[in-house]
Subunit: 149 residues, 8 copies
């Protein structure tokens, strides 16, 4: 049975693609899942499907609900959760996903540059590995799944 | 792996068929489950299989037990629970199913016309989306499963 | 340690008072909890505390959220949940509370007149007792807590 | 029994004091808990108790571990979790705590100014109330605990 | 905090009294709970409170429901479950209680004469101790609670 | 996905074969599991694999342990548990299995003749159906799985 | 409410006394629990209460069962589990207790000299703090409970 | 569906190979999983993938984290956990894995020579079988999976 790995967090760089490409090249038996990474679709999904809202707060609320149907289901199914923190935006939802994984007892890996180490110390403490590059995630998954360095 | 979506509630309109048709047309990888929607069979199943009862209360009790073997199993297996509230009948069992989904932490979607909004406010608050038409359910599932609007 | 009994459902009759009076007279070691039974306060609490809304749906949504902070906490702490279904209104939230109790494995007692038996058969099947009068609830609690008829 | 309310997040303003003062004035039966809010102590606790580290990452790691002994215990005991997001810092640990509360099914209230609404939409969607001022938190707790506006 | 010990099973001998007397003499900080041991009350409680039934099956069913409100609550609260199997009757409910304790992970002690060893081997395997006399139960509790032989 | 149905209890009649034959004839998508029904193997397995014992109690203990590796795994995987009580033997392990299913929240069906109704009232109360003949079990499964009488 | 801290592991040095003395001096609101630390009593309890055994294996088995009634109950009630690994004996039961705490999600602290670091790396990884001296445990508890260094 | 059996513990003898060979010869439908048994890889994986460390403690810590991603996932998926204790090394991680299995309620089998019986009495008490040779594990699995001696 393939491993189910949820890739949470940053949606403005190619880190998911690099992990997927590396895993494919390594021939790993893994299925990657993720939130919707099309920023516009993710923001608009609530009103696009369920109807317009005059206030931004409720537009966001509706959209976040629909997104959560996807993300909650995938996070609960995941064997491993990888959370990427990038340079842009507040990315509170990335940390929120990490908190869910921690409370569920699902192995957690964080991926971020050293400049965020201090701000992320609580999240990193709950993680089983702190990686800097997507290729390290591939190496970790290869080791975890196939048992070889 | 297909998503498992339980369609709870109203059994006197074609909302399940419209969702199933829409999902098929959209090519979604989803398995729909539901309670037995043949009203007569659902009412009579207890005495039909387990023997007559002289009192209505125990006839209902027996039938509800057999139905629960099906519904409890399917609700617990579901990735998403959709609950439809219609105009006829009290539909307390629809709200009861919604309460189970909420307590299990399973994503919940409600489907009902605006005139029930006030009466359903507690149930809707526990839901991740409140839809008006079956086609919106299809759109939500497409987004949740395939990640596209 | 006193038993914690949550009294869910109908807020337009004196059934809670009758149970409380009976339990007091019987000297039972029990703490009763309940949702806010002031209908107006319950409807308005969201906008009263968190600010006005122009649409009824979001007014209800805000209010239901604040009410849920109280009801979810109390339902989860309860040793026994009693749910009253009356003649007025849809009372879907009563059935919703019953569904939560059932999924949590908390002993459930329903209280309603016989004319709702058929509509409530699924909820009654999940209950350990179906009572008609508040005084029967007191007798059940006395038996459960003190072990005497 | 008093309600147990965990106040997570921002440690650079007086919001906790305002909530505590308001709850005291209102005579609420509530116990507030919180992470250690002395920033220096929180940062240094690992090396102060368990010995020096030459690298910042491991200093943080040690400290975050000791802090988690406190915060994990208190979050798991809480009846309600309030999470404050302020203007300074990344506050990923606030969102991380919110994720834990959500996964545990503990009622969650967020407290933040409107300018963070969009960035916090996923966290707010999982919350039962979104407040702007500490006094609103007091009002919510009074309503939840005592059932009066 | 006192230990909560549920004494399940046989109601036709004085084993509960012997355990209670021994624990009192030893000064143990323990609260004993039990099903209703008045056989007549236990059999009749359903119809006595909730109304007559013409068929024995439903009379039993009603009574078992009311008894379960007591027993399920007490079993779930217990720190330790002791189950006594005697010579009379089938005592399937004793084994049923033992199965619940085992599934809940609650420490289980059985109390029965050697002639039932073979018939009870599955239940005994799930137990942490198999005792022959009530006085051994007292000795086990003294050791478990106070740490002395 | 086929339904997983565990058939617990009596091993001295052909009830399992009758259910299996009926389910096959009805074309049900179901996998039946069961304890080892070879009485001699079940009794001897402990010493046969793990070495002789001089005392009957420990022979039983060893055997019950090995049997539990099978039965605990299968009971936890089951969607539905059917428990048969027959005329011979004490069958406490059947009631023990029923208690585990009840505590796990797995739908439970009992199968026994009316003469055991009073002795089994607690177990039957926890069951969703009480059947008299194996063919009724087949009819219940057909209804639960395929939704037709 | 006092914190409940279980002190697992080594029973041949005075580390528990040093922690208790330090906590008392610091005035901490904490209750310490522990396995029975009288080695002889712990070894003999099974046969002393439940009867002689001719084979050492079953003597140990009986004793370990009675000890587990105490230790399982206390570990499950603990807010924090401290595990001490000393120089003598294999102390597999200390690591076994640590594994239980980890699986239960209870904060874990280990206490051992550096020479065991490599052998204990898996256990230490699951711990939130690795201490060398009992006084460090006191300092950690003071920080966790009272929030001061 | 094949049974999932996790083989924990000793990595310096051929016991896993003997079990795998025996299971293959017996044609059992079983998937064996295990920690990484290449001692060097297991020790170095942290620094090999995530970067050098100057101190042994943190090198071990990093490595143990990456190993835990594999072992935690596999232990949680296992139907049965077998733990081997050998003569060399402290093998605290073997006992740690056993503690996790016990707390998760997963059937546990231990495999060790009689000279460790006394030191392992707590772990053995939590196990459903104590085997001496790998071939006994194969026989137990054949019995548990196929129901034949």
């Amino acid at each position: 049975m393939p491993w189910d790995v949820y890739l949470a967090g940053e949606i403005h760089s190619d880190w998911r693609e690099r992990i997927a490409a590396g895993a494919k090249e390594a021939g790993l038996d893994v299925v990657f899942t993720a939130p919707v990474t099309d920023h516009g679709a993710s923001d608009d999904v609530g009103i696009a499907i369920l109807g317009e809202e005059s206030e931004g707060f409720w537009k966001d609320h509706k959209g976040a609900g629909v997104n959560a149907i996807r993300t909650q289901t995938l996070i609960r199914q995941a064997d491993v959760v990888v959370v990427r923190f990038g340079d842009k935006y507040k990315q509170w939802n990335a940390a929120f996903d990490a908190g869910q994984a921690a409370a569920l007892g699902t192995p957690l890996i964080t991926l971020h540059p050293p400049e965020h180490d201090h701000a992320l110390k609580e999240v990193d403490r709950a993680a089983l590995a702190v990686a800097r590059e997507p290729e390290q995630i591939v190496a970790i998954l290869r080791y975890a799944i196939e048992g070889r360095l």
